[in-house]
């Protein structure tokens, strides 16, 4: 079967008014593999059934509502005003009319080439500084469902903060990546970690290859391999470094990396350090990926015209800013057709997706064997830190001998290892309870409920309906700060993000759901979000969803870099 250029028949949105898919009534444009079939049948358009329908064993409902034109214009105007005022303020600071709060270079070094380009800091100084209080809020408790935040004040417009000594207690935590609720200071995980801590201490003081390979590490790696359903696994001390220090071991000069445009900074850094050629495909767009694959094989390397040594596709399970889930069945079909290798970063999806928390591979009912490199982190669902890579034994053997991390970086701290082992065993049900399974189910329920309610309220929500990462669109720069502050005033901690983490007009708030959130907590949060939404006029949705595939796709926007 041909995976087709991105589900060829479905490139145009299917109008499906009031069709029933998964027992939910929807209006507007819907794109899903199974749902489209139902929709098409309902609309009498049988020929619209996608060829990819067979690839998906479950409905794939992922849609993005377009930015309303007026909102987009107002957002640009907002940035325009901010920039103008920024220049004005810079002018005033230059002539010492306004007091300069930021640290400056010492007099002795004034004649050096300036350490920073001035424009580089323009954005920080004039835009970010206005709403800086929404980030780096220090907490002083477990990052669980509720969290204690240290109150801070600024008397100089966010240039510096003073701690008042007060603690804002019991803030509902919608920001931490505590998907399964394992961030806890009581219970079996904490007890086990404490025991190991007393026995081993916290450090290792050596690298894996020298003398820092503890029996605990070996135990963890065997468990991770079993959990993922792969032959072998290796673990590393930092999730970010797992990507940036292992991709260079896998590919190099003469190899091609095809990377999703929204991939995490660590994947981008790893790809750059590898020395391979990098080409970017549109986010989750299989047409774009297939075209790149085809062209790469047909035309070979630029200039030398030699065939590529190998092609590695880099994708993430859940995209943390978009809330989208990778179209893994299609990616795997493409990878098989074009004999490329697949590197799947499950930082956000491991534990958070799939009936038993095995991640995006299980979610789609696929075989872990089809993914060449399974990467993930322990920071999120497992409430610990570090990362892993799983795959065939040959791959892991190679990494044991060639991974930058194994040779040069200190291995995982033993109590952290123990936290991973206990939480993973709990998810697998090896602790003799069904607690882990319940957590996974609770998270899935919370996700659906929270997303449905937000949509009903009229917010523009991005991403897949099963993704516990829920971006709520704010668009305008002034609303970023306002939303964050209003929510904190109502005792809810949220994450707000703007440029450069998102496209300039697509500023958003991001909620991360957790199994630790009770229905009561979610209802409180939803009530407050509803109120703030009315206050700030955030309910932009006109219920016209545009499927991801139909977001503008311009064939000329590929980027390529060679180092």
């Amino acid at each position: 079967m041909r995976p087709g250029p991105g589900g060829c028949c479905c490139r145009r949105p299917v109008r499906a008014n009031g069709c029933v898919a998964n027992g939910e009534v929807r209006n507007g444009y819907v794109r899903s593999s199974a749902a489209v079939a139902a929709a098409a049948a309902a609309a009498g358009q049988i020929h619209h059934v996608t060829q990819n329908g067979g690839l998906y064993k479950r409905p794939f409902n992922e849609a993005f509502e377009e930015t309303p034109m007026l909102v987009a214009v107002l957002t640009y105007v907002g940035y325009g005003v901010l920039t103008l005022f920024g220049y004005l303020r810079d002018f005033l600071r230059h002539w010492r009319i306004e007091k300069c709060h930021h640290a400056t270079e010492r007099e002795e070094q004034k004649d050096f080439v300036s350490l920073y380009q001035d424009f580089e800091n323009f954005y920080t100084r004039n835009l970010y500084m206005r709403i800086r209080d929404n980030w780096n809020r220090p907490i002083c408790s477990v990052p669980g469902a509720k969290v204690d935040i240290m109150e801070r004040q600024s008397h100089d417009y966010n240039w510096s903060f003073k701690y008042t000594g007060n603690i804002i207690k019991g803030v509902i935590n919608m920001g931490s990546y505590n998907y399964l609720g394992f961030a806890r200071n009581t219970g079996s995980c904490q007890e086990a970690a404490a025991k190991v801590l007393e026995e081993y201490g916290v450090g290792v003081c050596s690298t894996r290859q020298e003398i820092g390979n503890l029996d605990k590490h070996e135990e963890l790696e065997k468990l991770v391999a079993r959990f993922l359903g792969v032959e072998a696994a290796m673990t590393y001390g930092m999730g970010f470094a797992t990507n940036s220090m292992n991709i260079p071991a896998l590919v190099g000069k003469g190899c091609l990396i095809l990377s999703d445009e929204l991939n995490h900074a660590s994947l981008v850094l790893g790809a750059r350090l590898s020395g391979a050629t990098i080409r970017i495909f549109k986010h989750n767009n299989m047409q774009s990926l297939e075209k790149l694959l085809k062209d790469a094989i047909v035309y070979g390397q630029p200039r030398t015209r030699r065939p590529w040594k190998k092609i590695l596709i880099l994708v993430e399970g859940i995209y943390s800013m978009e809330g989208s889930i990778v179209r893994l069945p299609e990616v795997i079909a493409l990878k098989k057709k074009y004999k490329a290798y697949l590197y799947l970063d499950e930082a956000h999806s491991i534990g958070a997706l799939g009936p038993t928390g095995r991640g995006v591979v299980e979610y789609f009912g696929l075989d872990p064997e089809d993914v060449d490199v399974m990467m993930g982190t322990f920071t999120k669902s497992f409430g610990a830190s570090g990362g892993y890579i799983g795959g065939k034994k040959e791959l892991i053997d190679y990494l044991r001998t060639h991974s930058h991390s194994a040779v040069y970086a200190t291995s995982l701290s033993p109590p952290v290892v123990e936290q991973i082992i206990t939480s993973m065993k709990c998810i697998m049900g090896q602790d003799g309870t069904s607690l882990g399974k319940e957590c996974v189910q609770q998270l899935a329920e919370n996700t659906r409920y929270f997303r449905r309610r937000l949509k009903e309220m009229g917010f523009i929500i991005y991403g897949n309906e099963d993704s516990p990462v829920v971006p709520l669109m704010l668009y305008m720069p002034a609303k970023i700060g306002a939303f964050g502050r209003e929510m904190l005033k109502r005792n809810i901690g949220v994450v707000v993000v703007g440029f450069p983490a998102t496209p300039i007009i697509e500023s958003r708030a991001r909620f991360c759901l957790s199994a630790a959130h009770t229905k009561e907590i979610l209802d409180t949060a939803l009530k407050e979000i509803d109120e703030v939404g009315d206050l700030l006029q955030l309910k932009y949705s006109r219920h016209r969803l545009v499927p991801l595939l139909d977001r503008p796709f311009d064939e000329t926007t590929y980027e390529e870099s060679e180092d």
């Binding site: 640290a103 400056t104 010492r106 350490l115 920073y116 970010y128 980030w135 780096n136 809020r137 477990v142 990052p143 669980g144 240290m150 920001g175 931490s176 990546y177 394992f182 961030a183 200071n185 904490q190 404490a194 007393e198 201490g201 916290v202 450090g203 290792v204 003081c205 690298t207 290859q209 020298e210 003398i211 390979n213 503890l214 029996d215 930092m238 970010f240 660590s266 062209d295 047909v298 035309y299 630029p302 190998k310 004999k339 920071t379 497992f382 409430g383 610990a384 830190s385 040959e394 053997d397 044991r400 001998t401 930058h404 200190t410 701290s413 952290v416 994450v495 590929y558 980027e559 390529e560």
Partner: protein, 514 residues
């Protein structure tokens, strides 16, 4: 597209006809002909912007080639300016002009018209591949395996397995030894006070932070630790990273960008090398600890700067050195180098016996990393229990400043004891707690050297002295150090143990090497 193409060609062709301009132009056109995403990258790769500015040939070509055309134009403007009777004169001149002249000009005009209206000229014959041909090519292509096979007896494949804590007494592969391999210089790894502090933190915060510093991953413990480190190092500000390797590797590219220049010691460790690679700056390597060589490079740069002062005004320069070089065990001659440092980066994974790293310096310098340090912004923060352990370790260090003198004394002792082993040479300062034992004479092959040294390590291990070879990625290192055994001194090692270790190494080395 088509409407503006012809004039471009009109300029192109005479240029390419004139010779040298063609070479500068053709690669980007080839890329264009192939279509797809190649064109953007191919163009800058072929003609980097600054060089493009230097190429003056095309401009000459454009002025010089259509000389005949220009004369004609001049003549026409003259005619226009004059009164109508001049037109008559012109017609007359046309009659008088020799026939060959008229024919030549006529041909030239026709040529120009042809150029204006002709289609894109082909630099080379191109024939598009048919769909079937493409499919065949795709069918035909066979990639290399994802990873090459690793031989079963690769020296780094089978790790030593440490059972229990890697502290003063260590159980390696089931054998109890005295630890001369872990960087636990101050013996803080199993210090009860450190453990108690970490435990208290664990009971309060749990293990993980579940977020980067920006998004509710900043704990009060992190702020405390940053304060303490800044004070300990006597600087304005400190910033912590959750991984030692990522600290310097993130800090360098936060400041040094493409086009900037970094002067770096040849023996710099791998994390520095990776940071430099990520920064994409120009890298100038000077000989290990050779200040004269550094001066030579700086002078060369000065001459370079005088040639191009405009570029020099925006090029930042950095010098990167290590305190004690991990790869050599030697110390950097800091007083000779500079009297003032902008940024210090350090690791909490060795003496502090925790995990993570930090940078410290002036706020003006350090604060920049809070938005630009990749490993800081995009990674989960350090687990609070590790931060708490580091704070307690700092407390112990501040309370017992004498501990450093003790360590220094022990280093001296074992250094002295290890001198004069036939076949092995001690590399590194006498007060450095980590130093290397090199083979006095290499066998000529790195593989054999490694095997010999491993034999020494194994036999020492059998005699209860845990040592390790310094491991490197042979193919990745910029300047690969020779194979060596690394010896680590800690305050916990007794004089008796130090003597025994030196004696054991001596005996084993003699047995293996002679």
């Amino acid at each position: 597209m088509d409407t503006w193409r012809p004039p471009v060609q009109g300029i192109c062709l005479p240029r390419s006809a004139s010779g040298p301009a063609r070479t500068g132009l053709s690669p980007s056109l080839t890329a264009q002909a192939r279509g797809g995403g190649d064109q953007r990258a191919a163009a800058p790769a072929q003609a980097p912007p600054p060089r493009a500015r230097d190429v003056t040939v095309p401009r000459h070509a454009r002025v010089d080639v259509p000389v005949a055309f220009r004369k004609e134009a001049q003549r026409l403007t003259m005619a226009n300016a004059a009164e109508q009777w001049v037109l008559v004169e012109m017609v007359q001149a046309l009659y008088e002009a020799p026939a060959y002249h008229l024919i030549l000009e006529g041909i030239l005009i026709l040529w120009i018209i042809r150029l204006l209206f002709s289609k894109t000229y082909k630099l080379q014959e191109r024939s598009d591949l048919t769909l079937k041909e493409k499919e065949e090519l795709i069918e035909e292509w066979q990639p290399e395996p994802l990873v090459p096979p690793v031989s079963k007896d690769h020296p780094a494949l089978n790790y030593n397995i440490v059972s229990g804590p890697p502290s003063h007494n260590i159980v390696v592969n089931g054998k109890e030894c005295i630890n001369f391999a872990s960087f636990n210089f101050l013996g803080l790894l199993d210090n009860p006070r450190v453990k108690a502090a970490a435990l208290a933190s664990l009971k309060k915060y749990g293990v993980g932070t579940c977020g980067p510093r920006g998004f509710y991953g900043t704990f009060d413990v992190h702020l405390d630790l940053e304060d303490r480190l800044a004070k300990f190092m006597k600087t304005e500000e400190a910033i912590i990273y959750s991984y030692g390797f990522a600290t310097i590797a993130s800090a360098i590219p936060a400041y040094s960008k493409r086009g900037d220049i970094v002067f770096v010691d040849r023996a710099a460790c791998f994390a520095i090398q990776k940071g430099l690679q990520a920064s994409r700056s120009d890298i100038k390597i000077f000989k290990h600890n050779d200040m004269a060589d550094l001066e030579r490079l700086l002078k060369e740069q000065e001459i370079e700067d005088q040639k191009n002062p405009r570029k020099a005004r925006v090029t930042r320069r950095f010098i990167v050195v290590e305190g004690i070089y991990m790869n050599t065990g030697t110390i950097c001659p800091l007083p000779e180098l500079i009297d003032d440092i902008d940024l210090i980066s350090a690791n909490m994974e060795n003496a502090l016996a925790s995990v993570g790293g930090f940078c410290c310096g002036r706020s003006f310098v350090i604060d920049h990393q809070r938005l630009s340090g990749q490993g800081y912004c995009f990674s989960a923060s350090l687990p609070p229990l590790l931060a708490a352990a580091a704070i307690e370790a700092l407390n112990i260090m501040e309370e017992n400043p004498g501990i450093f003198a003790v360590l220094k004394e022990k280093c001296r002792k074992i250094h002295k004891a290890l001198q004069g082993i036939s076949g092995l040479r001690v590399m590194g300062e006498s007060f450095s707690p980590a130093f290397h034992l090199h083979l006095e004479e290499s066998t000529g092959s790195r593989e054999k050297d490694v095997k010999l040294l491993q034999e020494i390590v194994n036999q020492c291990m059998n005699r209860s002295i845990a040592l390790t070879q310094a491991r490197y990625l042979d193919k990745e290192e910029k300047c690969l150090p020779p194979p060596s055994i690394r010896v680590v001194v800690t305050v916990e090692q007794t004089e008796d143990e130090l003597e025994r270790a030196a004696a054991t190494i001596k005996e084993v080395a003699q047995a293996v090497l002679l």
